[in-house]
């Protein structure tokens, strides 16, 4: 590819190689073989490198929900590997900080055994789906926002994107899940679900634009998949939904995702196909064991 395009260097640089790897993966999800050497270390290690060279590990917590069994398994991992710091993240999960690189395979093996997968908190990927407790508990809740968030996360996890992608579902317009500063935010109302797009916190705060209102949970899933696929296909690598939306225009997105049903369904199908593929790889298991002798090469 690099040769065909007449690159001036035979193997590019740290900026273009991850971009090229993403574009090829997005365009040919079934055919292209992911190039590990073109991925940033975090996506190879399934953990987030910290300033001292240790890593942080965040298991996925669907819709921000957890159980006693999961918490016990996490606590056991913290004790067993003497992980120095545990922090609640802004994305409603737990961050285990200070894990040494050589501990990562064991930490992930134990978390996998307890049924937990990577939260992709390091990736240009679907990160988290933040939810409030919704109509199941809250006296203001109009719909089951937690279940909606879990359904969205089950559909979208494992999908690669031009940049990180965050979702949220609020059970009423009080918006406790802060859905209006997410890439795709859902706000429940009595008569259905409002869909909002293109928000982010970060360096340049941007509130979402209102996309449309839909009636059912199935609609929310369909529109979300279509929107994310349009973003995956049209945005530049490292461009979040907010600047992409400003560049592409809200009307363009409305046309492709809301008005044109055939376009929406085609986008949805491509999204579902592409995002299911990475999940066939069992767990974050990219690390091999170190060689025992310290005088030998090791990872």
């Amino acid at each position: 590819m690099i040769e065909a395009l007449g690159w001036t260097t035979p193997d590019g640089c740290h900026s273009c190689r991850p971009a090229l790897n993403y574009y090829l993966l997005c365009a040919w999800p079934g055919e292209y073989r992911d190039d590990a050497q073109s991925r940033f270390v975090n996506e190879r290690m399934h953990a987030n490198i910290q300033k001292d060279g240790t890593y942080s590990v965040i298991p996925r917590m669907w819709g921000g929900q957890t159980t006693a069994a999961e918490l016990r398994a996490i606590a056991d991992v913290v004790d067993r590997y003497q992980i120095p710091s545990v922090k609640v993240t802004g994305g409603q999960r737990l961050d285990l900080l200070g894990v040494r690189k050589e501990q990562l395979p064991d930490v992930w093996r134990d978390l996998n055994a307890a049924g937990m997968v990577s939260g992709h908190a390091y990736g240009k990927a679907l990160r988290t789906v933040k939810t409030c407790v919704g109509s199941e508990w809250c006296r203001f809740g109009t719909q089951d926002s937690t279940a909606m968030g879990v359904a969205l996360e089950k559909m979208t996890w494992g999908s690669w994107h031009p940049h990180k992608v965050k979702l949220a579902v609020s059970g009423c317009p009080r918006n406790c899940a802060e859905a209006t500063i997410k890439d795709f935010g859902v706000i429940a109302v009595e008569s259905g679900w409002e869909l909002h797009i293109g928000g982010n916190g970060g360096i340049k705060l941007r509130g979402t634009d209102f996309l449309c209102k839909v009636a059912t949970e199935a609609d929310v899933l369909e529109y979300c998949a279509a929107f994310l696929q349009l973003y995956r296909e049209e945005a530049r690598y490292l461009e979040r939904t907010a600047p992409w939306l400003e560049r592409a225009g809200l009307e363009h997105v409305r046309k492709r995702v809301v008005e044109d049903e055939a376009s929406r369904k085609a986008l949805q199908q491509r999204f579902l196909y592409a995002s299911a593929l990475p999940r066939t790889i069992p767990g974050p298991n990219v690390l091999r064991r170190n060689r025992p002798s310290s005088a030998r090469l090791r990872r």
């Binding site: 260097t9 035979p10 193997d11 640089c13 050497q37 270390v41 090791r298 990872r299």
Partner: protein
């Protein structure tokens, strides 16, 4: 520094455009293999904040540090000047005196430290 060579493994032990580390009493050494099968060894610490270079993306005869994207030349161990650094305002650059000098190599010597038995830029044939 000695002229002695250590057998640390074979070329196949290192992935192309990747690195492996060797533990020594003086700290980890990162051994890189480029796309063109050249092999280089450096301290596994970047000159900026001590980042683990072995975990960086290898391109050409350089590696990009995973902490702050400094591009380190594999042959010299020095950071390659970047336009962003060259444009840095000296007053804003704080303690990084090397950063503020236009075109200067942003690497305070001595780096890399030479480790007994391993010389930067070792030849492939001598590694195996």
């Amino acid at each position: 520094m000695t002229a002695e060579w250590l057998d640390i493994g074979t070329l196949d032990d290192i992935p192309r455009q990747g690195a492996r580390t060797v533990a020594t009493p003086q700290g980890d050494i990162a051994v890189f293999r480029t796309l063109g099968d050249e092999v280089f060894a450096l301290d596994d610490r970047c000159p900026h904040k001590g980042g683990p270079l072995s975990q960086g993306i290898v391109h050409g005869n350089a590696v990009t540090c995973p902490l702050h994207n400094w591009v380190i030349d594999l042959a010299s161990g020095e950071a390659r000047p970047r336009s962003r650094l060259r444009q840095a305002d000296p007053a804003q650059a704080g303690g990084g005196q090397a950063v503020a000098r236009a075109g200067a190599v942003a690497c305070p010597p001595p780096f890399p430290t030479v480790v007994p038995g391993l010389v930067p830029g070792i030849h492939v044939g001598q590694l195996a």
